[in-house]
Amino acid sequence: MKPAATSNWNFALLRRATTDSFRKLDPRALWANPVIFATAAGAAAVTVVALNDLLHGHLSGFTLQITLWLWFTVLFANFAEAIAEGRGKAQADALKRARADTFARLLKDGVEQRVAAPDLRKGDTVVCEARDVVPADGEVIEGIASVDESAITGESAPVVRESGGDRSAVTGGTRVLSDRIVIRVTVEPGGGFLDRMIGLVEGASRQRTPNEIALGILLVAMTLIFLAVVGTLPLFAHYSETLAVQTGAVDVSLTVLVALFVCLIPTTIGGLLSAIGISGIDRLIRRNVIATSGRAVEAAGDIDVLMLDKTGTITLGNRQATEFIPAPGIANERLAAAAQLASLADETPEGRSIVVLAKEKFSIRERVVAAPHATFIPFAAQTRMSGVDLDGTSIRKGAAESVRDWVVAQGGTYPTEVAATVDRIGKAGGTPLVVAEGREVLGVIYLKDVVKGGIKERFAELRRMGIRTVMITGDNPLTAAAIAAEAGVDDFLAQATPEMKLQRIRHEQAQGRLVAMTGDGTNDAPALAQADVGVAMNTGTQAAREAGNMVDLDSNPTKLIEIVEIGKQLLMTRGALTTFSIANDVAKYFAIIPAMFAGLYAINGGVTGPLGTLNLMALHSPQSAILSAVVFNALIIIALVPLALRGVTYRALPAANLLRRNLLIYGVGGLVAPFIGIKAIDVALVALHLA
């Protein structure tokens, strides 16, 4: 499931898609896409005409070519869908291998039984030991084990799964590497994570999303109106012939009418619509995010508020030493050296960061302290200090009050400047650690949350797109405010409890906003379920994974931002290609209508009447004009397949700028491009003596 290293256009994929595009000619399959169904119906009608002509021995090259190109139009549309599905199918095949032929060790009344994995029901209890494949999704209810989840995450490093707490979920198809766990199955057969994932990537369970359905309706409406336009056209033509007293001046053969109809109906977007949707989900999968429905991907584009956990998303995760502030009369180096010494045995991230800071700032090397004459004092909740006793001196670092009491107890004094520094750091949202050597206070270490590089710019980008960010943290409001200001989030929720999160989401939703959040714990489940887009971490609990509508296999909370971008890109692609498709019609009219009606009111003996003026592209002949439009209409589908699969270029811009940009490219471009394209095809057809 890692991002595909190989090209998306490998030969096997293309071959599979090609055969699939013929298989999709089945009318029942075509019916799902009314625009393409109408195209196929038109192609079938013209085929009957062509066969009839053939039987009577007067099949023209024109009719033959129109027939072929109409079928190409249908095939190209099928191909677009097939190639999008093909990429998913390749991934599904890999997943299916993980599921194949697993046996489960079912525990029934304490007795172990060997059953086939698909026979497991929800609530069954199974045992897994080293080298066993987990037979179904479930929750560890006993024991601890390391599990290889590479089959679904692609991550080769094993993860720990244990009963109780937030790491209790196991996924069917993963392999236990060590130890023994007892699992309670939490899904019915076929409803497992892997099954859903396979269904999703195969496109089998892909339901059309609400917006896709609405767009589909609009495309049907356009097809109907063009059916009315083309259906009534022969009567307009005959009446015009009567008025001009020129019977037979207008070619309203079925071939020409179907050609016009197919050119006018939105075949471009109709043919690419499902490919756009499938590839949107595919893009998520490539980023190791599994969405349970396409609806969630669409909702991601609409998100107004992002609720982000501070830790891991906004900050690096742990507090880090950023500054040494010496007490009056103490050299900075001495403080740093003492602080480093006191932290040598401190394996917490905070402790490591102190050692690193001392090294970076003052080039104080990590000294190898021989064990015999150094006694390390580990941190204890009672003393709230840690440190080292070395060669008769004791160095301690810890909470301000504890160190003060320790110094005062030895008869030392606690400088007011240090107390002031401690206050200042606390107010700025940091954590002060006071360092003392014996009865002398050396100074303060400034520990603070370090905001991830680039995250502030990311939030600014989101803001430009109208998305607000809310930071969720368990910190006190003061600390939270300081970090919020530094990270540039729009709002924060301090000392957050799961209930507060849920409340906040409901509050935003009541005002009409759509909310996205990430979560992993069981207590996040209600909020995940309430959020419009809830991304559960794969490392999280089964409850969280069930509650969210997406699962991030990498368990990276920053992914939420990418998910929103993918959602937006999906919608933009759909809108851009719809606009392009409709704008194309203008040029096609200018190709076909003059071609059909140029003969009206032609002066005696001439071929071209006044309506020849509308032949703006100066196309060679009526037949070449109609043929060129049909060819263009078919080729444009294939030409746009890469764009449909890749998505239009995404930029973090305000809506007005995005609209201007896309309207210019796909609206104006859609008006102009076919004029050039049809003319070029016309020239080519004439050069090849095809028209």
Binding site: I225, F226, V229, L235, L243, G466, L571, L658, L659
Partner: protein
């Protein structure tokens, strides 16, 4: 064209724009149920009407209930006109002793007036009694206009309400604009018209002997009161057959100027009122700008075509009233076709091919460039929904309009509202071309004949009501087919609009952000204009090509029809 022509046009546009905001504020206040202070003395009239009909004006209606009320009310209105026509011989105020109107024409006329179309298969002065004109047509002139305003108010409520289940009370929406706006305004305007020489009389027609010694019957009637609302309510049905070209209906250049202004004033004010009611004033001005641009564009093209047509200036006056001249006639032709008014002061058939084609195109746009009173605005909103849906995705969000998500239900109904009139025009034309009944009604040759038929169906299906010229509209096909098409064009739009209003009212409102699709800037204006042109152009490209465009090209080549 000379300086006075340009001055005339500039003055017209300036006054139109100037009256928009005051009239719009007035209209919005009335639709909110808060009549302006200087009309508060009419409150007892409003309350009295409710008491009389047993109505509680604050009772909220769901969209289905609201739609039901509209349909029943309009049906009854239609029946009344129908009955008056059939029995006018036995009823009072019939000094010329007109007999009953033939069935087909009576139905056509009833439908025509209840749908605010005012397509006239009859000629007023030679077939309708004063009572039929006044109690039937005159009354319906007010009520069909008020119906349009009610639907607009309901739509605005749907957009401004959040998670609501109702869209207002139809009876209140009907009574308030009638009592506080249409009647007072029409009364004032009628007085002005009378002062200009429009007749207002119950006397029998006057018999006169002309200088040439021939007998002439000079028709009279209570015309001024009906003409005021005919223009203000975008009805357009003339008291006399010649409509506003008749000297008793539109006697002077001043009356002409005022009537042309009156026919656009309220549709323009509707846009402003909609902005106030839906809470989107900037957006409303953008809509207004688009409408004005379309109107001025059409006007400019028509004038250019009219003045540059081959032939003498006298030829260009063919079919126009000399007392008005070319520029005011072309202005009127455009005003009456962008607004779904349909009254004429010149024969559109005699306009240059492009000028007539533009009048036709104005109608084919769907009567949404100012359009009918109320109906122009809600028709435009349907187009906006399509525009927002098509292009809205391009900003990376599912489409929304004024904070409301546009989903499958809205799109299906907006598509129906746009599609039905289009289909009605296309099939009406096709059947006319195919049948003797359709073809024989035509009084012209060449592409001009085709235009005439397309114009007729466009006018009926879009509830405009003007005719291109010499079409004989009294045959069964045009009267009965026309009746069906007028009903489709009116209620095929009203019902979807109300359903959309109901659906939108029930939705939450998404607060705007910089990620929201902008509907209040010049970019949206360009987009909306593009969608309007493309929808109309794509649907009618063949029809327009084979009619006006072909005729224009032939004229350029020296052939006229």
């Amino acid at each position: 064209m000379n300086v006075s022509d340009f001055t005339y046009l500039a003055l017209f546009v300036a006054v139109l724009v100037a009256v928009t905001a005051p009239l719009g504020r007035w209209l919005a206040a009335v639709l909110r149920g808060e009549p302006p202070i200087w009309l508060r003395w009419l409150i007892p009239v409003e309350r009295g009407l409710y008491r009389l009909a047993g109505i509680r004006p604050d009772e909220e209606m769901s969209w289905r209930h609201y739609t039901g009320a509209i349909l029943v009310f309009n049906l009854l209105g239609g029946v009344l006109i129908f009955v008056l026509q059939l029995f006018q011989a036995k009823l009072p105020l019939n000094p010329q002793n007109f007999s009953a109107v033939p069935l087909g024409i009576a139905v056509n006329t009833a439908v025509s007036f209840l749908t605010n179309t005012n397509w006239q298969a009859y000629s007023g002065e030679s077939s309708l009694s004063y009572l039929t004109q006044m109690a039937g047509l005159g009354v319906q002139n007010f009520l069909s206009a008020a119906t349009g305003l009610a639907v607009m108010a309901a739509l605005a409520r749907g957009l401004s309400r959040k998670s609501a289940h109702s869209i207002g009370n139809f009876w209140a929406d009907l009574v308030r604009p009638t009592v506080y706006l249409l009647v007072p305004l029409s009364f004032g305007f009628a007085v002005v018209l009378v002062a200009q020489g429009v007749v207002m009389s119950f006397n029998p027609y006057v018999h006169a002997v002309t200088l040439a010694g021939t007998d002439q019957l000079i028709p009279l009637g209570p015309a001024a009161s009906q003409i005021a609302i005919k223009q203000l309510g975008t009805n357009g049905g003339g008291f006399f057959g010649l409509n506003s070209a008749h000297p008793f209906e539109n006697p002077t250049p001043l009356s002409n100027f005022l009537q042309a202004l009156a026919l656009l004033a309220l549709p323009a004010a509707c846009v402003y009122a909609y902005g106030l009611l839906a809470g989107a004033r900037r957006h409303a001005w953008v809509i207004y700008g688009v409408m004005l641009a379309f109107f001025l564009g059409a006007l400019g093209l028509s004038l250019w075509s009219e003045y540059s047509s081959p032939g003498s200036a006298a030829l260009a006056l063919e079919g126009k009233e000399v007392r008005f001249g070319i520029t005011p006639s072309v202005l009127w032709a455009n005003a009456t076709t962008v607004a779904s008014n349909g009254s004429v002061n010149a024969m559109h058939s005699s306009l240059s091919p492009l000028g007539g084609g533009i009048a036709l195109f104005n109608i084919l746009l769907g009567e949404i460039i100012f359009g009918g009173i109320g109906s122009g605005l809600y028709g435009m909103v349907m187009m906006i929904l399509l525009a927002v849906f098509l292009a809205g995705l391009m900003v990376g969000r599912t489409p929304e309009y004024l904070g409301k998500k546009i989903e499958a239900f809205e799109i299906r109904l907006a598509a129906i509202a746009v599609l039905l009139p289009c289909a009605a025009v296309l099939f009406g034309c096709a059947i006319s071309f195919a049948t003797e009944a359709g073809r024989s009604a035509v009084g012209n040759a060449g592409p001009h004949a085709l235009t005439e038929i397309v114009y007729a169906w466009a006018s009926m299906a879009n509830n405009n009501g003007s005719a291109f010229g010499s079409l004989t509209a009294t045959g069964d096909w045009y009267t009965w087919g026309g009746s069906v098409v007028m009903l489709l064009g009116r209620f095929g739009v009203i019902i979807p609009v109300l359903a959309i209003a109901g659906s939108l009212a029930a939705k939450k409102t998404v607060p705007p952000s910089s990620g929201t699709f902008p509907t209040d800037g010049p970019l949206f204006a360009v987009l909306l204009g593009g969608v309007i042109i493309i929808v109309a152009a794509l649907t009618y490209f063949p029809a327009l090509t084979l009619g006006p465009v072909l005729e224009h090209l032939l004229l350029a080549a020296g052939r006229s029809f």
